[in-house]
Symmetry: D3
Subunit: 316 residues, 6 copies
């Protein structure tokens, strides 16, 4: 008779601390596998235990270096498929290339769709991810996609910290107002938007729409890369009389040069999740980290046990 | 020897006036085809001329009744494929079901992706469309998609009508700020946003972010269905002291009841394109229509002649 | 551990009375879901309970209005796929567009194949259907198709009603002789065919092949749409001296105008199944209905329990 | 610059005389290729001339030995695809396995669909065929299928041979009445059907429906395999007083034993096309052959020149 | 509730003795199915027991007559898919057409890939095979492929038969050195290669590379077809002073004429497995057979029970 | 009318000198495109000219850093597909991950097949490559693959340099004997093999099979990575009395550390092609480079002009 199909969780190289925390939160151990690089740069995958007929979960953030991390993931999926995994559940706390989700100019690729196609073609049977840059990315897939939200985590962090009336939630750019509205709903606060105009890349024509004078401004975005968008917005808010400026984002990329930009900005503190590793090591003075591991672990358990995901979309 | 592949344009039932205008702008005639309905409601397709080896363009807006119009289109594509069309270019001035582009709640479909899959599976080899509800919908397809923008047409309509300083472009809801920013760029104007809060479906808590007092407010959206979103926003703007309120949108659905809502609103005039037919027949007092036919016809010619589309994205 | 995969049955809008009867015959309740229509005519699907990992059965006849009912079904399949149903079993008591199964004239679609492709592409993993217009439609699919037959039900209805020697089974047209032969086998009767000639649409040249004088003629067809085919055949039989004329069919479409045609015909009574709803409401004097619910319910149970279907193909 | 795409016609092993006649009717030569068999029975394909960028037509009837002829065809398609043919047009005068088009009993394959899938997967881009066993087989494909009819050829053969009133067209079995009706229309004749009952494999209960006494009976079927169906029907007709019995069919398989059955039957003469080779060699006394080569050649020319196929469906 | 999914093993016609031995080694019976041939050469498949929801294993070597055996297999897969098998595991002890794995000359097919595509498209969900001609053939598939090795079986046969120092393992041609190295490793022996030069099909320029004088030479190849390659190599070895010449191969095709070639060669004995049937019946004097049934049966059990395959790759 | 489809050649980042040489040999210019990297490591593609309806050739070696170069290529293909290229011809002078072409150990990926699948899924319509590690890799694709050989180039380099009788061609390992045989045929030389045994990674048990004493030994391999394989073989040859040891390979990877290994080896000179860039910059004393640009350019012209490739497989 067939052996019972087990849940097996593997972590690739991009975010092993998070993977370990997720495994701990579920109460299981990470599977044995290693990813080495040959002298010519090619990736060598070693899965050290049988996964025949098992439900396999592979945790990998396709963050920097994105191409290496993506290929690691695709190669792992190929190996799992050929080694007869029953299902291959890709867990992507951070989905690289997500911003390339449309052809903004003629002859541009839609790299996010390319990545989606690669994952499906390689053999992924399900995707679990966190706060996609655009929710429409779900529709890039024909396999089930569970897109978790960090907003309840971030809102929980701010709740009780300030009086509702002294807070205004601010979108640092035109395209993120809906996200800001969600946080504002949790905090019962009003909105403002920093209008980052296109004809003025230096930001000197930027201005704030809405009332921020004397207020605690919470800037909210989905990801922080160089920090420049937030820094410019903070500058605009400061000029407009903001009392305190803090920021929150799901994904902290903190690419090269971001430490300086952020530490020199008007932002007093930033909160991000651990969807991308290496943030602490960068020692950016005003950045702190909350974990998304319990949320993701709970989602993986619910997937494995065929229980509904809906309770995870609410403030805990 | 193979006969030279010709360009053949067919119109289905949803918007024949626009199709005729497009054909006129290209300087060709519409192909002979008819779509009948059997007594049991099934669609019968008749293509009355040979299209073997031709480049075929099928014009259809999947507007109300959306399911019939969509099935007409899919059946036509199947017929063209089996009748050996060389390429099947679907021209969708309005893409129905575009708003169902994500799972907003658990166990929701992504119907826009379903529609994309149906079009590709039926045999479409290219899509030409107009002002997609979300630009990410391009990535729902693996065939080339040319998404034209109505913004240059709408901007052209407003240019010179008002002094730049007396105008403010207003997004009637949180999620359309980027679109408003584009129009504001054309008109050199500032922005405002009507914050339609979720916990107040009656709209009585809504308020405007930004300065509108004494201004000409141009509300901009991608589509007008019942008109309720615009009417509420106009009410908020009026209370905030707006001088004049006008509105613009790419697609005028004007579903049942919209005539009353719009005529009773604070909006003095509305401009839409003819991407959806039947607007004039509805005789809504303050609605006027500009045509997208020249833009679409020019795009079809460029596709057929392998010339770049980029010039069409600028103000003419 | 994975929850046990359950059987969940949902009914869409086309034939809820039959779906309820099927559920009753299986001894389970219908799942909670609702299908609404937005003001612009787009369908909104709501599945009100978790179906993660379950074996889902969706009951829908793609009868009038066929395009709406088909889109309901496709959207439901998309929703189920994304919500992680383990298998998606489409139950189609009546398969709309089945007659468009070949290109009878140049440049015709094969809409039945289009529908098959749409169902598979959307995510259906199995089809259960009833008395397909042509058995070859099974081959339009690459997923398993179980095609049940109504003939045992109809034969059971007639058995014992008449002496074998006084009965003749009549095909009302050239193409249905095989079906008539099957019923004749059950009733131990001879055959006759009404030859509806092509060059005479008024039917005045039609004649019967075979002996019907003084006989009870049972006309048999797979579906009744306007009733015209049966009415003409009955007229021919009456002229040829038939004693009594009754009719039977699997699917009663009874489109507009059929009531008058049928009530004015020489047919004394008609028997159909409830594969399509709304027959009773039409109050056609001489039509009665037998249910296919027990047959379909038994088939669904056998599918779910991995038991063979073959016993269902025999007279009960 | 690209060389002009040429038309190249190749013949495989099953019916080289027909292929040669088709090439002659088009006025071109057959391409150089050879098909050998290794000592272990594997097929070796040699295409002796470049076909890069060409429109290639491969003529092959998948008649006895069907598996070898089918594999020859699939291997040829693979070779053409990899050698960069622009289009691969499969010309199948006889489509083997066409009768296995449904699951007549539980757990039967639908081999005709399997064959269709194999042809498409191997790389065929179009199919040209002749008088498919069931027209629904077109829908087994998603590539364009042109299904030519032999009926005009067969009707042309009989026209003027007999007075209309002395002829009756007879279907030798229940399922072929529609085909008989078509021939009857051409000849302005009435119909009869031999009812070959299922519960009597010896045929002794078979009888004729319709008037045949003193008539010239033309039995019509799509293919003749062992000849048994026709021989039994002829016997029934003879007993019912038929004056003369002739037969016609599109495809003459004439499998082992058929010579004896046919020569000993009541059929005075049989006409078939040359869709399958080797008929003459079998020297069956009363069988003669008309060629389908001009019809097929004309169809291939029309495909190559993008001209409509419809004129070929009428009596020449 | 779903019935428990069982393991069901079927044998087609090519190697029933091996299939029976495999079933015996597993301790189960072969499923009831029969494969008949119609009078026109078409294959008719009969699966005599329900396999709904079962894990089905189909044993078939695609040896001579390869096209018939391959079509049998494809038709069986189609039947199993439509009859709702849960998984379809193809067991191919010998993979016909494996040597056609590249385009050695322009415009050649890659028939091995064609076969792989056919198997996958028909519905195979897994492949178990034995000593593929080239290991790269695994990559022709996207389903899991378990490729067992006969080398431990063959090595076990030779171990202890000779002193290590008196043995040299010889590759009979340039391309099989890696295989020879593997056997040499097991036997702790040195290597030699017979260099069969291309410009000399008569073999008279062939020579041996390495020391064979006075040694027991074990020629090793993956398959023996006509035996000519081995016979020529043996001749070269004999001239170079070899003491004894024996040979081993996984697959014994022994095509027509091989008996004479082999019996007249310098080879004293040959060992092959029973992956292909009919070897004993050919009564070649110096050929003996060892069974691969226990190895294959054990692999099938491990697949069914989700246990790792790795222990099977070692000397037992 | 459609503009004539042109040939457009683009080079990505991995080997621009070779791309330039290829363009020069064809007599055309490289298309305008640029590949930048965002601050977070994501690739940004810019195609600076219209390619609508054109035949596009993209030159890229997937050499170190392989993952970045591969993703560049896939993203470019996606961009070309969406920008309506008529055909997308991938030119891969070096195919990275080619050695991962089988599962050597349990649970290994077949990364070469993964790469093939990615290229096809992204939209490549043809592949042109050079001396694939295993010729079977052609069969990993279902699009046409033209695999050019460097052997005529390398043979041409050696012809006339030495007397035939003083040369022996040596395979540095067991698996490359066929390649050595090909070079030996060109040079009319004999073969030898260095038997690199598995149970001795230090190579101290390695020995040469064949006669090399006093000979000029030409080691031949398909690629040189660290150089270790060649260095060990050279050592063995030197001990066996070789007079001179030279080496040739198609692809010079020369990964980190190779300079030292090679310069310290017994090899007096190495010849490779410029399929991979950066060799000169590494300044390895005894390595020289011949260009494959003319060969590849000629192949691209033949593809574009639909002329046969076969003349390129012979010594020029």
């Amino acid at each position: 008779m067939k052996n019972q199909a087990s849940m097996k969780i593997f972590s690739l190289n991009s975010n092993q601390p998070l993977a370990q925390k997720i495994a701990d939160s579920i109460g299981c151990t990470l599977g044995e596998c290693s990813v080495r690089t040959f002298s010519d740069g090619e990736i060598q995958m070693n899965i050290e235990e049988s996964i025949r007929g098992d439900h396999v979960y592979v945790i990998q953030s396709t963050s920097y270096p994105v191409n290496d991390h993506l290929m690691e993931l695709l190669i792992m999926i190929d190996a799992l498929k050929r080694a007869s995994a029953k299902t291959i559940n890709v867990v992507l706390p951070y989905f690289g290339y997500a911003r390339q989700d449309r052809t903004a100019k003629p002859r541009e690729p839609i790299t996010a769709k390319l990545v989606a196609n690669m994952l499906e073609k390689a053999g992924a049977t399900r995707l679990l991810t966190l706060d996609l840059h655009a929710v429409q990315l779900q529709g890039f897939f024909d396999i089930p996609v569970d897109n978790l939200f960090t907003m309840p985590l971030l809102a929980h962090f701010f709740l009780g910290k300030y009086e509702a009336e002294e807070v205004v939630v601010v979108s640092p750019k035109n395209s993120g107002v809906k996200r800001a509205r969600e946080l504002a709903d949790y905090l019962d606060a009003e909105l403002a938007i920093v209008d980052q105009q296109y004809h003025g890349e230096d930001g000197k024509n930027d201005y704030v729409i809405g009332e921020v004078s004397g207020k605690v401004c919470i800037l909210i975005d989905d990801m922080i890369n160089s920090g420049r968008t937030l820094a410019i917005a903070a500058d605009v808010l400061q000029k407009a009389g903001a009392k305190t400026i803090v920021a929150a984002a799901s994904h902290g990329l903190f690419s090269k040069g971001s430490k300086e930009i952020i530490e020199n900005s008007a932002i007093s503190s930033i909160i991000v999740t651990d969807s991308i590793s290496g943030i602490q090591e960068k020692e950016i003075a005003n950045v702190s980290v909350i974990t998304c591991s319990v949320l993701m672990g709970e989602a993986m358990k619910r997937i494995h046990e065929n229980r509904p995901m809906s309770p995870l979309f609410k403030l805990q």
